[in-house]
Amino acid sequence: MMEIRQQLCELFEENAEEILTRWIAIMQESGLVKDLTQKELEERGKAKSDTIIKCLKAGDFAEADAYAAGMAQKAVREAMTVDQIISGFLVLRDIFGRFIKQWYKDDLDQLMEVLDIYEPIARNVVNIVASAFIKERDFLVKQQQDAILKLSTPLVQLWENIVLLPLIGILDSVRAKQLIESVLTYIGQTKTEIIIMDIAGIAAIDTKTAHHILLTIQAAKLMGTEIIITGIRPEVATTLVTLAINMQGVETRSTLRDGVEYAFNKLGLKMSEASKH
């Protein structure tokens, strides 16, 4: 068996150039590699065929793992599609297969034996590379999801004991729940006295959203922190009144500037214009 493997590898290496040329031709025809130059294509094709040959030679997949790890990151960064990744290997697999059939066409028994060795290896290499690529992409998606969730409740310290919380977009139940949790945890950790919730970025409000905001304000109050609301748009204000939502006991200001001023006053701080000389 070792002999066949050795023989196969040698045959592949001898015909490397022809294999590569054929691969490039098929890939270019498929239209999947439009953005790549001839040189880049050559490099990629060679890397792929080297990987298969090395795996064939060694009989294990250490080389494929190493190649996949490096390639996956790069491919995700370059926003390559699953199509592009897998077809590159599949085309190469077919070319190799065709060569094998040509070399051993006179001896059917040996051809079968060779294919039995070659095919599982080629299949596995494609598998490993595709899994690595998808894993890397899943990781990226997860990372981005986390970032979006964190971004949705940005707590910015304006001054000692004054923190700004600008809300943007739509406040659905998931986000609202996360809002309450992160605000209260933040209060618990930092003992901030006043939080200015700026809702100028919230286009529309419904009963549920208003309820979530009020819930956050009440819970914060119980912990000893005042939340004031700024930037209520006319539409939002009208909705709140129409829905008869009780905003009593909630300090509201029209602009963020007024909110900051209120917070400064509350903490006994004073803002003044610097005197001009």
Partner: protein, 123 residues
């Protein structure tokens, strides 16, 4: 009647109490009596309830705290509840229980500040 064994400490004109044990209904009622008695006995001008060690509350305990505060207030002794954990705060608001007539503060220092302001003195 047995003692609730929750310490109530005096600091100047104020009383500070910080329960460190789980408060059952029976203890809660005893505790309320003790606090109110102590306010009279020491002529306290303010009460600080530090509940930072309490991580579970039920509606009864909230009512007791609310009652302590309202009664103390009537006796000229404003009450500040302090150190409420995020979990407790969420539970209370979700159960729609409000601590009416109670001041809340982030820590004991800020509680003292509130009481001093109430008394018309500056910290």
């Amino acid at each position: 009647m047995e003692n609730s064994s929750i310490p109530i400490l005096r600091l100047g004109n104020y009383l500070i109490s910080s329960p460190q044990i789980a408060i059952h209904d029976k203890i809660a009622v005893q505790y309320k009596d003790e606090v109110l008695q102590k306010i009279v006995a020491l002529k306290a001008k303010g009460l600080i309830l530090d509940i930072s060690a309490i991580d579970v509350v039920d509606s009864f305990l909230v009512r007791v705290i609310s009652e302590i505060a309202s009664s103390a207030n009537l006796m000229g002794c404003p009450t500040v509840v302090t150190g409420m954990s995020p979990a407790v705060a969420i539970t209370l608001t979700e159960m729609d229980l409000s601590l009416s007539g109670v001041f809340t503060a982030l820590d004991i220092e800020k509680s003292l500040k509130i009481l001093r302001e109430k008394e018309g003195r500056h910290a």
